[in-house]
């Protein structure tokens, strides 16, 4: 029997997923530094939930459990969802989100490789629609908070929703810059004035932009390691920057500048870690450009005109729907064939 090739190069699904997790580490550290150690609790909780849900579903589906837990894809989903949630999200929110992501969006569609939608974004969208209040209530960065919470306080708050005696929820939370910008614009404020608020940093959100920068670092590592291709982040960021530049150029009083959009919200997390999910994304190089550019444009449109402050999750899910079409229409020229 002819079973060549007999050799294969090293990376496996597990190593790819491991490198993605590794690339997220700088972002997580920055996150913990800016918002406190609560994120570590959230991530741990999400990971455990994801592994239990994955194992349970694999057992029900009579699939081998160990190799699929070892592929670490469930852990990647868990981490991405945890990082997308507001810090200090209550434990049940994390569990519900991860459960939806793993059970509904991934395993019920056939498990790894078969999910048409990005599981983390499905989990996020479900939470955003079901619990909009909690999902848009972000704690202020520690540096800005009137009463910065210690790690134990955060842990306590996540699991029991109880704050130290002298602290009110309003004192530690605020709207996100994207949210704040949107509401203030509706009150006929001008962008220049709005961004004077302390929650705004040099480019995006005060503190948040540090986390974003850390994601960029991890993303570049992934490209260098050839885990992701440059097409996706480049097209996503270029599209987001272009459309915001056009709007900004037309009316700078009403539209934030491109840099703000790039450095705010989940832009960079999305560019390097969300839209780069291979399973729910396109496979052709040209398709990747269209997919990512579409996600970038939709993100901007939802941010500016949609009902939610950030549009990343919906933009990605909408583009996921287009993947089969994109792939079909962007087949590259085969060697020796006409265009």
């Amino acid at each position: 029997m002819n079973r060549s090739p007999y050799i294969t190069d090293a990376p496996t699904v597990s190593t790819i997923m491991l490198k993605v997790l590794l690339a997220l580490v700088p972002g997580i550290f920055a996150y913990a530094w800016i918002y406190g150690g609560g994120i570590l609790v959230t991530i741990t909780l999400a990971t455990i939930t994801a592994l239990i849900a994955e194992a349970a579903l694999l057992k029900i589906r009579q699939r081998p459990i160990k190799p699929h837990l070892m592929d670490l894809s469930a852990v990647v989903t868990a981490w991405l969802l945890a990082l997308a949630l507001p810090p200090l999200a209550p434990w049940w929110l994390v569990v519900i989100g991860v459960f939806f992501a793993i059970v509904i969006a991934k395993q019920l569609y056939g498990g790894l490789g078969y999910n048409p939608f990005n599981p983390a974004m499905v989990g996020y969208a479900v939470l955003l629609i079901s619990f909009p209040l909690i999902m848009t209530r972000w704690p202020a960065p520690l540096a800005l908070a009137g009463h910065p919470l210690g790690f134990m306080d955060q842990l306590h708050f996540i699991f029991s929703n109880v704050l130290p005696n002298d602290v009110k929820v309003d004192a530690i939370t605020s709207a996100t810059p994207l949210d704040y910008l949107k509401t203030q614009l509706k009150l006929n404020q001008e962008v220049a004035g709005i961004t004077q608020a302390p929650m705004f940093g040099n480019f995006g959100a005060q503190g948040g932009e540090v986390v974003t920068g850390a994601y960029l670092l991890g993303g570049l590592y992934l490209i260098q390691q050839r885990i992701i291709s440059w097409h996706l982040p480049t097209a996503f960021l270029a599209a987001l920057a272009s459309i915001s530049l056009i709007f900004y150029a037309v009316n700078p009083a009403h539209f934030a500048n491109p840099l703000f959009h790039l450095m705010s919200g989940a832009s960079l997390l999305c560019a390097f870690f969300i839209i780069t999910d291979p399973v729910s994304g396109p496979t052709t190089p040209r398709g990747k450009l269209y997919f990512a550019a579409g996600a970038g444009l939709l993100t901007y449109i939802i941010r500016v005109y949609g009902g939610y402050p950030d549009g990343v999750a919906f933009a990605v899910l909408l583009m996921n729907m287009c993947v089969p079409l994109i792939d079909t229409l962007t087949q590259p020229r085969v060697f020796g064939h006409e265009k």
Binding site: M1, N2, R3, S4, P5, Y6, I7, T8, D9, P11, T12, V13, T15, I16, P67, D71, S73, G111, L112, G113, Y114, I223, Q224, S229, W230, P278, V279, G281, T283, T284, P285, D327, Q331, P332, R333, V334, F335, G336, H337, E338
Partner: protein, 607 residues
């Protein structure tokens, strides 16, 4: 800058560990004469040649043992002098593991050459040279084993301007071409000159991967001052694929539906041109080749091996297999295959034998689901979408697989090599290809059968018509005769009466026609009787036969008498009876037809 370019660049192909150094430490060695040689008759792509010897014959070294009977076939020669011990089915080095017809030769140890006839290629007509090469036994020694003489035939249509010599040797482990170039550069160049002359090409390009500096130096030195250049290509598997190499060295991308020769390019393996030189200029047919023996053996090395040499003798020459050797692979680790047995002979296709062991080639881990990472698409040298092809092949969606150009897949194995899920992609494509070919064949067979059946039905119909026509003619003749004789108006009257009323429904017309027919038959019978009576001839045993038949009989009798034959005795008077009945029926049918026609015409005119 390079770092930035590399950051973005995705290049097709892969670069697996080369493992070429192991077998290039020692020069090419010659194997001691084996104890027996087993020569498969099919060592090439194409038809089996015709055997010229029988068991017990004594043959000389280089003697023709089997000759090609058609173009796509290749000759087999005796690699040494000796005796034909058997012509039987033996295990051959083929992935199928199926035995094939082989000639077994027991060497006599004398190595007596058959008379060799070298040719002066400068002064020999091309056609004669090619005709001679037809019996050279030379095939593509790169592994494709396509009979070389076919590729050298210039049928006037092709206009080859460039000869490309494939010396890329891109697969890991294999070094036979590398060593050949190091040691026989001049023979190769001479072979290139002959091939270039035969093809009428103006230039030749030798494509060598840059991981063979010694071979490059040797070839560059040998081709100095000749219209032959060495093109150094980057080491990137599968640069040795003919179409890939053509693009690498000439920039020409051969369209998928065209042959390279249609674009003015011909490709030969470096060992093939050397064999051309040795055959044309020295008269030596193809009886040996250089084989790399490597992998889990004591001393990996290249050997000049006579075709038919049993594998164990070759392994012994390489110091024997090390412990833990599980089996042998023929070819490289990317496209080779497991040998079905250790007891196979070395054939024209055997460029490399690798002793496999678990530490060299680990068993692949169980396949994981495809995560659509498209690493395979990045690696594919043909720019296919292997992940889509996998999906279609797996779900038996063969039409889709074909649409996505499955048949452009060269099975190089790059996709499987890079797959993080360890999916045996190439196997899926081989499966899908063979299924599609089988389906196509079945469809072709069904089409042919349908065509044949349609033809058969048409023939039956035609024969029926012909028969009816013949009978009708004869009946008509009979009727005319009868009418003439008796001058009976009743028949005509009856028919006209039946057909006259155009308004009558069909059933009535048919009824009238029937009656007319019956009347006609009766009248005819009467007429016959009357005629017989009138002729006064004694009724023969053909009495009931009608006039026309009697006339026929009379004619036959006359003819017979004229040639001095006696009157035949009609043995079966019933035949005559039956004939008369038949004639009556046919006459009735004609009458019916006439009636119907008349009715129809009447109908038409009344409308």
């Amino acid at each position: 800058m390079n770092a930035i370019i590399n950051f973005f660049k995705t290049k097709a192909g892969v670069h697996p560990p080369e493992h070429k150094a192991e077998s290039t430490q020692l020069p090419i060695a010659t194997l001691p004469l084996p104890s027996k040689l087993v020569l498969p008759l099919r060592q090439h792509i194409g038809n089996m040649p015709k055997i010229l010897v029988s068991v017990g014959d004594t043959v000389l070294k280089g003697q023709l043992l089997a000759t090609p009977e058609c173009a796509v076939s290749a000759a087999i020669h005796a690699p040494t002098s000796g005796t034909i011990a058997a012509i039987s089915e033996e295990v051959i080095p083929h992935p199928s593991g199926l035995p094939d017809l082989c000639i077994t030769l027991i060497p006599d140890g004398k190595e007596t050459w058959a008379p060799l006839s070298a040719l002066d290629w400068h002064n020999t007509p091309k056609q004669e040279l090619v005709a001679s090469l037809c019996k050279s036994g030379i095939v593509g020694f790169g592994g494709a084993t396509f009979p070389t003489h076919i590729k050298l035939r210039s049928n006037g249509k092709s206009n080859v301007h460039t000869l490309i010599i494939n010396a890329a040797e891109c697969e890991p482990y294999i070094t036979c071409d590398d060593m050949l170039m190091r040691e026989y550069a001049d023979e190769i160049i001479k072979g290139i000159e002959i091939a270039q002359h035969l093809l009428g090409a103006s230039k030749s390009i030798i494509g060598i991967e840059d991981n063979k500096p010694q071979a490059i130096t040797a070839m560059q030195a040998a081709c100095a001052g000749k219209p032959i250049t060495v093109s150094i290509v980057p080491t990137l598997y599968p640069s040795g694929d003919a179409r890939q190499l053509i693009r690498l060295v000439s920039g020409l991308e051969i369209p998928h539906n065209k042959r390279a020769t249609e674009m003015g390019v011909q490709v030969f393996n470096v060992a093939t041109v050397r064999a051309i030189y040795r055959y044309v200029s020295l008269g030596e047919p193809a009886i040996s080749r250089i084989v790399t023996v490597t992998g889990n053996v004591q001393t990996p090395q290249n050997f000049e091996v006579l075709f038919g040499t049993p594998l164990p003798e070759l392994i012994k020459a390489a110091g024997g297999a090390k412990a833990a050797t599980t089996h042998y692979i023929m070819g490289g680790p990317m496209m080779g295959f497991d040998l079905p047995s250790e007891q196979v002979p070395i054939t024209k296709a055997a460029n490399c034998i690798i002793a496999a062991a678990p530490n060299l080639f680990a068993a692949p881990p169980p396949a994981m689901p495809c995560i659509r990472c498209a690493r395979c698409a990045d690696a594919c040298p043909v720019n296919l979408q292997p992940q889509e092809l996998y999906w279609f092949s797996k779900s038996d969606n063969f039409e889709k697989a074909r649409d996505y150009n499955l048949f452009d897949c060269i099975e190089c194995g790059c996709c499987t090599y890079v797959c993080p899920s360890d999916i045996p992609l190439v196997q899926y494509y081989r499966y899908a290809k063979s299924e599609i070919i089988a389906i196509d064949k079945a469809k072709e067979a069904a089409d042919l059968a349908r065509e044949r059946n349609d033809f058969r039905l048409a023939r039956i119909e035609r024969e029926k018509l012909e028969r009816a026509q013949k009978h009708a003619e004869r009946a008509e003749a009979g009727r005319v005769q009868a009418e003439k004789t008796v001058n009976n108006d009743a028949l005509g009257a009856n028919i006209h009466a039946g057909a006259g009323d155009a308004q009558k429904p069909d059933a009535d017309v048919a009824k009238a026609a029937k009656q007319a027919a019956i009347a006609a038959a009766i009248e005819r019978a009467k007429a016959t009787k009357a005629a017989l009576a009138a002729s006064g001839e004694a009724p023969k045993n053909t009495e009931p036969a009608n006039v026309s038949i009697q006339q026929e009989i009379a004619e036959i009798d006359a003819r017979r008498q004229s040639v001095g034959l006696e009157k035949p005795v009609i043995e079966k008077p019933e035949v005559g009876n039956a004939d008369a009945e038949k004639q009556a029926k046919i006459a009735a049918a004609i009458a019916r037809a006439k009636a119907a026609k008349a009715a129809a015409e009447a109908n038409k005119s009344s409308e």
